[in-house]
Every structure is written in structure tokens, then in C-alpha cells.
């Protein structure tokens, strides 16, 4: 599927075309920050900002909404239950490569048996159009280390790169191919376009240096070694257990399930809502036993999920290095810094072992 060109002044037309066929979500400015929002009116189209730095919340909110109905019931009788599994055909326009990777991660997690039909149905009805990044937009990002600076192998439909007056558009799927053909505003990319894209990529690479002192192939192993480290206690002293970090994280998908009654006090819905392993009650059971009672064990659990568990379970990155958790943390807790520090620890323990060996000889 050959790369295409979309002239920049055709972007609004393309957005309007998409709105005719789909529910369209795209990045818009929100104060001095950015957010993915539904584009519903002609005015909204003008608000689309393909040049955004990073959104506050990742696009997970469209696939795994903050609140989602699982069941509706007419009363106590279990026979009255029904499952409202549905999805509107949706296009998410303007997802950065790291967010495309994060969606690939949640795809793998939610589709793992027993698959989640609520997520899967939404995901199947969603097309992803990515937009390239030029480099880091803050000091907390480390996409180069997490290998998320380019779109993932599959799972996206179109991927755009801003070449100044035009977008260079890579086609990632048959659906993406059909989409640009149906839109009718795209032309096949030519020699100059490929050269310009190459120049963009070179520039981009130089703006995305690695920020960890080791290859992330070793991250799961380093995490294992750091399990008993005092680092987690030290960092957790600053943590408020507020759960902001997990809310803004594109690969966090934990949830709580609650029943909500309608005004008749009989019928209602069973719904899920985002939850956070950082909250004190997350692992508490009846009788008051709490299996992650201490802040440090909860913080460590998050760091381990991001750096090890999710990767081991899905084969996809549990952290895509977007930096959102660190930027939004009121206590300035940085996952990049933590991942840097565990390397220091490993180096120290390796030195200690070597020293101990020498002494015993």
C-alpha cells in the first residue's frame, strides 16, 4: 500500500468527510494544554490541532471510557439483566505513535481470553489515524527507550507526517486504504515527498535520544532485581496515593464495578469505572486485610506493572514512555527517574557481589 499525500489545506475537508461517515475524535486545545474531543460542528473542525504537543488524557477514553455500562437490569430479578454491548463507528484522528503502541497493548490485554466484548466491539468499530512526532515535548518522555517513536507493526489505519505544506500519509491497513480512496483528496507520494519524509525522520531521530542507561530489553530483569530495594520506600514517601498517574496512563486499564440504581430504586445499571492500584482500598478484602497496605508496595506494583508484568503478559510495552504520569504527578514522582535509579542499584549490587567475591578469595 503506497504512501499518499494530503495537502494541508485539505485537512478540514478530510475531517468533514470523516464526520459524514464516523464519529470523529481529534486533538483540540484546552487552555494551554490539549485534549482529544469529539469533533461535531463545522467550528470544531477549525479547532483541530494536529501540531499538539501531548494530550492530557490518552485516547483510551474512547475505547475504555471512564464510565461504561456493563449491564442494565429491571430489578433484583437476575432474569431482567441485559448487556448493552455496542459501538459507534469512530475515527480517532491524530494519535501519536506512543499512543498507537498503548492501544496495541490494551488491545492485547482486553482481547486476551476471556476477551472483553465491550472493549473489543468498540475497538473493532474504530479506525486509527496517527500523526508523527518531531521529538520529545518534555523531560519526562523516553519513547526512544521504549521503542515507541514509530507506529507499531499493525493495528493502525493511516499515519501522517507533517511535511510543512502537506502530510505524507502511510497506509497501515485495507480499511485505511479504502478510507483515503473514498475521501478522494489524496494523491500518491512521489520522489520529492519520500526525500522530504526521509529528512523529517533524520531530524526526528536526532531529537529522540535514549534517556535510560541500559537497553529496555533488560528492564523486566532489572525490575526483578529491584524488588526489595529501598528505592520504592524512598520514592513512596512523597506519593499521595491520588491515582492521577494511572488515570492519565495510556496503558492503565484497571477498573472498579458498581451498581447504580435509577430513581425507582429497583432498575439500574452495573457499570465499570477507572480505578487505581495506587488507592489504599484497591487490594483490601473483607475483614480489613489489605494486601498492598503500604504506599511503597502500591507504588512498586505500578512500576512493576509498567516495566514488567504487562509486557510479560501481552508481549507489548507496559509503558510507552509518554511521560504523562510524571508530568501530572503532584509529588514530582518520575517513572523515568525510577527506571534510571534501578540501573544504579543493579550496578551497585553487581559491584558489591564482585567485592564480596574478592574478599572471600
Amino acid at each position: 500500500m503506497l504512501p499518499q499525500i494530503l495537502p494541508k489545506d485539505k485537512l478540514a475537508d478530510f475531517a468533514r468527510f470523516l464526520m459524514g461517515e464516523y464519529r470523529l475524535a481529534a486533538p483540540v486545545a484546552k487552555g494551554h494544554q490539549f485534549a482529544f474531543e469529539f469533533i461535531e460542528t463545522p467550528e470544531d473542525v477549525g479547532r483541530i490541532r494536529m501540531d499538539y504537543d501531548i494530550t492530557i488524557l490518552p485516547p483510551k477514553k474512547f475505547l475504555h471510557p471512564m464510565y461504561e455500562e456493563l449491564l442494565r437490569f429491571g430489578g433484583r430479578d437476575p432474569a431482567t439483566g441485559e448487556a448493552p454491548i455496542q459501538a459507534e463507528p469512530t475515527v480517532i484522528l491524530g494519535a501519536h505513535p506512543y499512543d498507537l503502541h498503548a492501544i496495541a497493548t490494551t488491545d492485547a490485554a482486553m482481547r486476551a481470553e476471556p476477551a472483553d466484548p465491550y472493549y473489543a466491539t468498540k475497538r473493532d468499530a474504530t479506525l486509527l489515524i496517527g500523526i508523527n512526532i518531531r521529538g520529545y515535548v518534555n523531560d519526562e518522555q523516553f519513547m526512544a527507550d521504549m521503542r515507541t517513536t514509530e507506529p507499531p507493526e499493525g493495528g493502525w489505519d493511516l499515519f501522517m507526517t507533517d511535511l510543512g505544506d502537506r502530510y505524507y500519509v502511510e497506509v497501515g491497513s485495507d480499511a485505511g486504504s479504502k478510507l483515503h480512496q473514498a475521501a478522494g483528496m489524496f494523491t500518491q507520494a512521489a520522489g520529492d515527498d519520500h526525500k522530504a519524509k526521509q529528512a523529517f525522520d533524520n531530524e526526528k531521530a536526532s531529537n529522540l535520544p535514549k534517556r535510560l542507561p541500559y537497553d529496555t530489553r533488560y528492564l523486566p530483569e532489572l525490575m526483578s532485581e529491584s524488588y526489595d530495594s529501598l528505592l520504592w520506600d524512598a520514592v513512596a514517601r512523597r506519593c499521595f496515593s491520588c491515582g492521577t498517574c494511572t488515570n492519565v496512563c495510556p496503558t492503565c486499564y484497571c477498573f472498579d464495578v458498581q451498581d447504580k440504581l435509577n430513581l425507582d430504586a429497583a432498575s439500574g445499571v452495573r457499570r465499570r469505572q477507572w480505578d487505581s492500584c495506587q488507592l489504599h482500598t484497591f487490594a483490601e478484602v473483607a475483614g480489613g486485610e489489605n494486601f498492598r497496605e503500604h504506599r511503597s508496595s502500591r507504588l512498586r506494583h505500578r512500576m512493576f506493572r509498567k516495566g514488567k508484568f504487562i509486557y510479560e503478559q501481552t508481549g507489548k510495552p507496559g509503558c510507552v514512555g509518554c511521560g504523562r504520569c510524571s508530568v501530572h504527578c503532584v509529588a514530582d514522582i518520575s517513572i523515568l527517574e525510577a527506571y534510571q535509579q534501578i540501573a544504579d542499584e543493579a550496578a551497585v549490587s553487581a559491584m558489591e557481589i564482585a567485592a564480596a567475591r574478592e574478599e572471600s578469595q
Binding site: 454491548i85 476471556p114 473493532d124
Partner: protein, 283 residues
């Protein structure tokens, strides 16, 4: 805008419970109530001992509860439910003829055929007898498959003893050894008093290498009891326990039951002590 909603026919929600009718209900203690359920759809259920169900009361919520009847393919299933909060309190108000929603069976359970020929040691503390009973009844129903069967049960006071009719039946059998103890006796109590580990001194030394133990009870009880079992020479991977965790989905998604990289609702709740040790945060 074409905003047609898509509802694929094959999308069946794993959150939708099956309706089950209460066909038997009995107060065991002030806090614990026994229920026997039958499914309204007449389809029955097949499960392994150690598996659990999500019990649902629309408008209140769901709670994971162990199946306490013997494993296999059957029409009904039994549970013993302690009132501990919203859902379990609501369940205590229900009686014969009422319906609940059930999802499951969930979790791994354990196929006892894998232990054929082995001696079995059951150690249950408090409400831990509920999941343990599923293993005990399954073993006793297939008695010829196993060697010696020993059952130890500890409870706080005589008033807290569960399944009185089962206890009598086990006491009367001559093909299994059954001992019970209470932490504190009352005026009528003539049996053993003391924590459950004291019972270990009263049983014959088992053939340690050929014994599978099921130690199910509160975490403190497990910690002390597992030491006794190890001291007798039992193998770490022949000692089984059932881990309790907060659970919201039972499907390996919501994250509540996670211990390190393990989802208790899928990979558990039955773990060998060898696995629990590896998990570190297990007990």
C-alpha cells in the same frame, strides 16, 4: 452523520449472570449462612473443587464466593456465605424460592485425579472449611482413589462451627481421621481446645513424600500451619492453599486480584505453597 450502532450477534457479555434459585437455605451461625442453588435454565454446571462463583444481587453488586459442594457435573451447587458487607448482607436476607445471579465457575480449581494414590491432609480454619469442603467431599466420594485421609478443622468457639451434619458424618466414618479444635471452649465443649496447629501433634506421622495437604483458612492460620506441614516433611508443591483477594471482574482484567504478575481470579485461587513463596506478596 451515520451513527448506526453495531451490536454483533456473537458478543455475549461475560458479566451477564445466570439466574439461580435458592432451593435450600440454613443459618449456620449468626454470621454464616448456607445456600444450595439450582439454575433456572436447567443447564446445571460443571466445576472443579476450589473454583468459585461471582454471586450477584442487582442493585447491590457482586461477591466472589467459593463453591463448597463436591466437584463434577451436577444440577446444583452449594455455598456458605459470611455477612461481611453490602452484597453478602443482602444475600443473607434471601431464602428458599428467591433468585440470585451467578457467574462462573471461575478460577483454576484443582483436579483431584492428579492426586490419585496419595494420602490427603485437609486443614481448614474458620470459613476456610467452605472451599476445603469441596475438596473433602470430592475425595470422600472417590474414597478408593486415595490413601489415608485426615481432616483437621479449627474454629474460634463451638458456636462458630460450620456444617455440623458433615462434621458428624466425618467423625462417624472409619475410613478417615477427623479432628476438630476450638480456640475457646464453652461449658458444653468436651473436645480439643487450642489453635489448629495443636492438632498436628495428635495425628499419626504421614507418609510425607506421598501426602497432599490442603491448608485453607485466614492468612495467619496458613502461616503457622504451613510450618507444621513442612516440619512433617511435606513437599512445598504438595501443599495447597486458596488465596483471597478483592475481585471485581473474575476475568483477569480489572486488576484488583493481582499479585505481582498473577491474576488470582484466573491463575488461582488455588496455589501450591511453592507458588505462593515465589509470589512473595501471596500471604
Amino acid at each position: 452523520m451515520s451513527q448506526a450502532t453495531q451490536q454483533p450477534a456473537e458478543a455475549v457479555s461475560p458479566y451477564l449472570p445466570r439466574a439461580a434459585k435458592i432451593v435450600e437455605a440454613k443459618d449456620f451461625t449468626e454470621q454464616e449462612k448456607y445456600f444450595r442453588f439450582e439454575f433456572e435454565d436447567g443447564q446445571g454446571i460443571e466445576y472443579l473443587p476450589g473454583q468459585f462463583m461471582e454471586v450477584s444481587v442487582f442493585g447491590i453488586g457482586e461477591a466472589p464466593i467459593s463453591i463448597c459442594s463436591s466437584g463434577g457435573k451436577r444440577d446444583d451447587l452449594e455455598m456458605c456465605i459470611r455477612s461481611a458487607g453490602d452484597v453478602t448482607n443482602a444475600l443473607h436476607e434471601l431464602n428458599v424460592g428467591d433468585t440470585v445471579g451467578l457467574r462462573g465457575p471461575m478460577g483454576n480449581g484443582l483436579d483431584m485425579d492428579a492426586m490419585e494414590g496419595m494420602d490427603l491432609l485437609f486443614v481448614a480454619g474458620g470459613l476456610g472449611l467452605a472451599p476445603c469442603r469441596s475438596f473433602i467431599l470430592t475425595a470422600l466420594e472417590n474414597r478408593e482413589k486415595f490413601g489415608r485421609v485426615t481432616i483437621l478443622y479449627g474454629s474460634r468457639t463451638p458456636k462458630d462451627l460450620l456444617y455440623a451434619y458433615d462434621l458428624d458424618a466425618w467423625r462417624d466414618r472409619d475410613d478417615c481421621e477427623f479432628l476438630v479444635t476450638v480456640d475457646r471452649g464453652d461449658d458444653d465443649w468436651t473436645g480439643n481446645t487450642g489453635v489448629i496447629t495443636t492438632l498436628f501433634r495428635k495425628i499419626d506421622r504421614p507418609d510425607a513424600a506421598n501426602t497432599a495437604a490442603f491448608i485453607i483458612g485466614p492468612p495467619v492460620m496458613f502461616k503457622f500451619t504451613v510450618l507444621e506441614a513442612l516440619a512433617m516433611g511435606l513437599r512445598k508443591n504438595n501443599i495447597y492453599c486458596s488465596l483471597e483477594r478483592r475481585m471485581k471482574c473474575g476475568l483477569g482484567k480489572c486488576g484488583h486480584c493481582q499479585i505481582r504478575n498473577v491474576y488470582v481470579c484466573q491463575d488461582g485461587p488455588i496455589f501450591s505453597y511453592a507458588e505462593v513463596m515465589r509470589l512473595r506478596e501471596g500471604i
